[in-house]
């Protein structure tokens, strides 16, 4: 399956902002995070197609996955 993966804040350092990647069917969001070398402890928010999701979700072909560290503001 082909996914668009977006990274934010310091997760972009030495990686990318946006990439289209091919993943084997059944790959979970957690697998994708691990594959990027991102510590799950540092992940604050995950969104699939602008909806919050968790590590266990299995995305579908064409989905957009956004991975954020713990951030705040306001």
């Amino acid at each position: 399956m082909r996914l668009t993966v977006k990274l934010f804040a310091y997760f972009r350092d030495h990686r990318f902002s946006l990439a289209e990647e091919e993943y084997p069917p059944g790959t979970t969001v957690g697998d994708i995070v691990d594959g990027l070398g991102i510590d799950r402890e540092e992940v604050g928010v995950l969104m699939r197609n602008s909806r919050h999701c968790d590590f266990s979700l299995i995305p579908e072909d064409g989905d957009v996955l956004a991975i954020f560290p713990v951030i705040g503001g306001g």
């Binding site: 977006k6 934010f8 804040a9 310091y10 972009r12 902002s17 540092e42 604050g44 928010v45 969104m47 602008s50 909806r51 919050h52 956004a66 954020f68 560290p69 713990v70 951030i71 705040g72 503001g73 306001g74």
Partner: protein, 575 residues
């Protein structure tokens, strides 16, 4: 020294130093400004008239070395909303005012003559002197001239031309340690100060110090409190990227109000994001990290420079960048920075004025995306008080009425900030029920709806939103009384040691023994006191509603409307 109430009467041009009434003794910051206004201001009075009072109060911990405790609360009846109002800001004034022994500065009455004044606050009280040189000047000129006139670490609270012209969007600015300004932005408090004909307030505490009842306990509590703040990852991210880190995540969630609240995502989001801002500041050798008051360990502020390395603005916040950016479709960060600087100088709220600009764009006054047009209107029209400038300077509601626009994002006539209540429903409850008009800081459900701090409540469903907003509004009212920056709440929501350490700090400062329940009850008392004022001023449950278009115009990309009934919203007050 014992704390006192400093009372300035502008009708008689006199000042008294009074003992603190027993009923006010346990209060500080917002709890104190709202208590005083509820006790002394007629709720039906005209906000710009003789009967309104401007009350300035440092927080319970201001003037101590407690980390991030430098917020100053300013309150009055608001000329923008007609409700009670408290707006707080950083800068150095809260700490210096506390060190003069001033628990609250009350400015009442109106001068009879057509003259302007300055107030000089010291341990002895307040001297009222006539001011002419700085009348009509922008905030940055006032900061510079004040620094030359009163050298050393002297505090400054000032209004710009917008306050002098009594615009309902006018703010009150507070000097920061580097000669920039922070603002009590919301609700037009600058117009109240302008109506009282006070151009600026200068604060010189001399050798004044805040007494600590139990110094050892205080030191210990501050160590635990600072550690909780510094260790929290949100504090670290705020230090690096500032609050503007939110542009991309709110855009991704579909809740970034765009083109005067007609879409939830902005195509130019990346260009105005916190990530781009950080890279730009580093590339131009500006300062990505900066503190708005001494002793802040979070340091979310920054100095944004132009390509030549010259400072354009500082304290460049997410809400300002969203309002001028996504809401007005301006995708040029330099134009937004210039607009931010102009608004700081004119002394006008960046949220209210930029949302007003978005409504003006919808009305056809200027095209969406016209960043240079925005800057021109700010400088030539708002700054000079032309008829168009006054229409915009009086806020988003004023522009809507003047031009016949129906999509006007306000609650109780105050502009809705950077989170669309259709896609982030908890914040819609806060906007509707806040005692002060639409204000995200009154109960920041974004933490839990979007950022997953302090638990998780789905932003797109109705379940749990009223309770979330209620709990946060109660907690916020209490935090706003301490002088603490609201950003301590991220650590307080997640770290079990943070809130107890904060309570220990207050107890050690005053030699008292507050509990967690006392703090919750303080928050409830403040909300109820403020609501009672509004009820007496003529507000009813029907005012606790969002504008019609939020119920009828679906917001992309989720295609959702705000779907709480009036009865559901009203359950907020069941406590």
């Amino acid at each position: 020294m014992a704390d006192s109430i400093f009372r300035v009467n502008m009708s008689t041009l006199s000042c008294t130093v009074e003992d603190v009434p027993a009923a006010w003794a346990g209060h500080g910051g917002r709890g104190l400004t709202s208590t005083i206004i509820a006790a002394e201001v007629e709720p039906t009075c005209h906000p710009l008239g003789e009967k309104n009072k401007l009350v300035l109060a440092p927080g319970l911990l201001s003037g101590t070395v407690a980390a991030s405790s430098g917020r100053l609360s300013i309150g009055a009846k608001s000329p923008l909303t007609g409700t009670i109002k408290e707006s707080n800001a950083g800068g150095t004034a809260a700490q210096l005012l506390a060190r003069t022994g001033c628990k609250a500065l009350i400015i009442e009455g109106l001068p009879k003559e057509d003259r302007w004044y300055r107030l000089l606050v010291s341990q002895q009280g307040v001297k009222i002197e006539e001011e002419s040189e700085l009348v009509g000047k922008g905030n940055f000129a006032v900061v510079e001239a004040h620094g030359q006139r009163y050298p050393g670490k002297i505090g400054l609270i000032t209004i710009g031309p917008a306050g002098e012209m009594k615009m309902a969007g006018a703010n009150i600015s507070v000097k920061d340690p580097d000669g920039s300004v922070r603002s009590s932005g919301r609700g037009g408090l600058g117009a109240v100060m302008g109506a009282k004909r006070v151009k600026f307030i200068s604060i010189d505490p001399g050798d004044g110090k805040v007494a600590i009842a139990e110094p050892e306990k205080f030191k210990e509590a501050n160590r635990a409190f600072s550690k909780a703040l510094v260790d929290h990852p949100v504090s670290q991210a705020l230090g690096q990227y500032g609050t503007n880190i939110l542009i991309n995540i709110i855009n991704e969630s579909g809740g970034l109000p765009t083109k005067n609240f007609t879409s939830g995502q902005f195509a130019g989001h990346e260009k105005i994001s916190g990530e781009t801002m950080y890279d730009t500041i580093v590339q131009r050798q500006g300062k990505p990290k900066h503190n708005c008051h001494p002793g802040c360990v979070i340091q979310c502020s920054q100095v944004y420079t132009d390509t030549a390395g010259k400072k354009i603005t500082s304290g460049f916040e997410y809400e300002s960048i969203w309002a001028m950016g996504a809401d007005c479709c301006v995708d040029n960060l330099d134009h937004i920075a210039e607009a931010d600087r102009l608004m700081d100088d004119i002394g006008i709220d960046t949220i209210e004025t930029s949302v007003a600009m978005g409504v003006a764009m919808e009305a056809g006054v200027l095209p969406f995306g016209d960043g240079t047009g925005v800057c021109r209107i700010l400088k030539e029209e708002v700054g000079n008080g032309t008829p168009l400038g006054r229409i915009i300077g009086n806020g988003a509601g004023s522009v809507g009425r003047a031009f016949g626009v129906t999509r006007v994002p306000v609650v109780k006539n105050q502009a809705i900030p950077a989170y669309d209540p259709r896609a982030i429903k908890g914040i819609g409850i806060t906007y509707a029920t806040s005692t002060q008009g639409a204000d995200h800081t009154m109960g920041y459900t974004i933490a839990t709806n979007i950022l997953k701090v302090g638990g998780s409540v789905d932003p797109l469903t109705k379940e749990g939103q009223v309770e979330l907003s209620r709990n946060l509004q109660i907690a916020t009212a209490a935090i706003d009384s301490t002088g603490m920056c609201l950003f301590i709440a991220f650590a307080a929501l997640d770290n079990q040691e943070c809130l107890p350490a904060l309570i220990d700090l207050i107890n050690a400062r005053y030699g008292i023994s507050l509990t967690g329940d006392d703090v919750v009850n303080l928050g409830k008392y403040i909300l109820k006191t403020e609501r009672a004022f509004n009820t007496a001023a003529g507000f009813t449950a029907v005012d606790d509603r969002l504008p019609e278009f939020f119920y009828s115009e679906p917001l992309a990309p989720h295609n959702v409307v705000f779907d709480f009934t009036g009865e559901e919203i009203d359950t907020f007050w069941n406590f």
